[in-house]
Amino acid sequence: MLRDVLFAPFSEFEFMRRALAAVIALSLGSGPIGVFLMLRRMSLVGDAMAHAILPGAAIGFLLSGLNLFAMTTGGLVAGFAVALLSGLVSRSTGLKEDASLATFYLASLALGVTIVSVKGTNIDLLHVLFGNILAMDDPTLLMVATNATITLVVLAVIYRPLVVESVDPLFLRTVSRAGAPAHLIFLGLIVVNLVNGFQALGTLLAVGLMILPAGIARFWSRDVTPMICIAVGSAIVSGYIGLVLSFQTRIPSGPAIILVASLIYLGSVLFGRVGGVLPQLFPGRHLEA
């Protein structure tokens, strides 16, 4: 019985297996990116960026219809453009990154919605906004996996300056020039992973697989490395349970995945070992030293 619920969907239906593979690949890339977004206090930057990639995807859609490759390329171009422009503006003028990004992403979002609504139908708009993880064809799946691989390799390369810049940016500036490039590359990785999630979860929820797992991880560890592992793990678990839930109840798959992640997050807020609500309310007797 339990086996039917938990495993049968995947053994019987290919599209479910593809969806699971996609969500695992997504989790591997988005987990660590989300942790760094959170630690650099950029969680909302991820959200803004998700909107910023819309016009690029819309232009891709305008040129070649509902072709995921074209939409992804467009999204990447738009995302990189917004990320680089806002990064350069904030680094060269002293305007804070969030303010700089907010201006760029609003313009970008308005442009994107305009393009989609001028050309497409409401169904198209829905697809762009919410994605469809149950419709992963081979090229799309391959692209999701490639993007996740690129993310992990590049992150490994910029890991050290990224960590040092997060904790002590002034120090990094006095010993190395790697800070600014690492930051810009990191912004690029955010875009890559958003476009990745975009296929599966749509523009609105793509950022969910970054932010929620990172939030969960924060409540269970005090060190970056375990945090990243926990984030990836909880993203995969959310993806799996979300897919099963969506299969059994007909809740759309994207929202189901994010809802499951939200529930795990809620549990972590309540019971998390590091700063959770209940451990704070009932900390136990104080120690001797």
Binding site: V164, S221, D223
Partner: protein
């Protein structure tokens, strides 16, 4: 031999000078206290030395070291104390010059890190998150990182602010140890007794150099009074500074 040479250097913000026409040199192995009222330009001078601030005019030359090879302890450290990193890992970033972005940290490096942590009296704190440290422990940790940077020139911006006497004394011993190794050490300080007792050379700064030389000669009542008279606020309507030829010669 001059380790640092200031050639009529002016440093500042938005064209307003915070350090004005400073000339002089710091000998290799010198232990120099930089003193002066708040807003005198001490931090600005240090930012210029380590290359964080480009001079508005003139230049700073460092013999045999690049700006990135100068160890710098800022007054207001821009450290995110909520970042989940351990004391050990944090201190290990002091090895950046030898490890760079990709170099591994092997057994020898680990031993060096442990030694640096022990030298500042933080043994036992290696695994603690930096967010759990007190202000004084934090400063000890930053000194451990400077120690690990193994720099020929060390610039410390008010390193003893809000430190208790035990911590100050411990860290002062470290500075004297560096002096003994013929490293060039510059420290911005406010404690005149400490300057008199431990720093052979002093630069009294009040936007311009009021006095510079042996500490006993610099710390005179006249000099200190003159430094206090300096005006802190920038004059928004100030005209561009065109130095008279005579003052350039000095």
């Amino acid at each position: 031999m001059a380790q640092l040479q200031f050639r009529d250097v002016t440093l500042g913000y938005d064209r307003h000078p915070a350090v004005h026409h400073l000339s002089g040199e710091v000998a290799e192995g010198a232990l120099l206290a930089v003193i002066g009222p708040n807003g005198a330009g001490k931090s600005t001078l240090f930012r210029g030395i380590v290359g964080l601030l480009k001079p508005l005019a003139g230049s700073i030359a460092a013999a045999g070291v690049k700006p990135r090879e100068i160890a710098y302890l800022p007054q207001i450290a821009d450290i995110d104390r909520s970042f989940p990193i351990s004391v050990f890992d944090f201190v290990s970033t002091g090895l950046w010059r030898s490890t760079g972005m990709f170099g591994g940290i092997g057994a020898a490096a680990r031993a060096k890190i442990a030694q640096a942590i022990a030298a500042v009296g933080l043994t036992g704190f290696e695994g603690r998150g930096i967010g759990t440290l007190s202000g004084g422990q934090m400063q000890r940790m930053l000194f451990a990182r400077v120690l690990l940077q193994d720099a020929r020139v060390i610039v410390l911006d008010e390193p003893f602010n809000a430190m208790d006497s035990k911590t100050s004394a411990d860290l002062l011993r470290l500075i004297e140890h560096w002096h003994g190794e013929r490293r060039t050490v510059l420290a911005a300080l406010h404690d005149m007794e400490m300057v008199r007792a431990h720093f052979p050379q002093t630069l009294l700064l009040a936007r311009e150099a009021v006095a510079w030389g042996a500490t006993a000669d610099v710390l005179t009542t006249d000099n200190l009074a003159q430094a206090r008279r300096m005006c802190e606020a920038f004059d928004d309507a100030a005209a561009p500074c065109v130095p008279a030829p005579a003052s350039r010669a000095a």
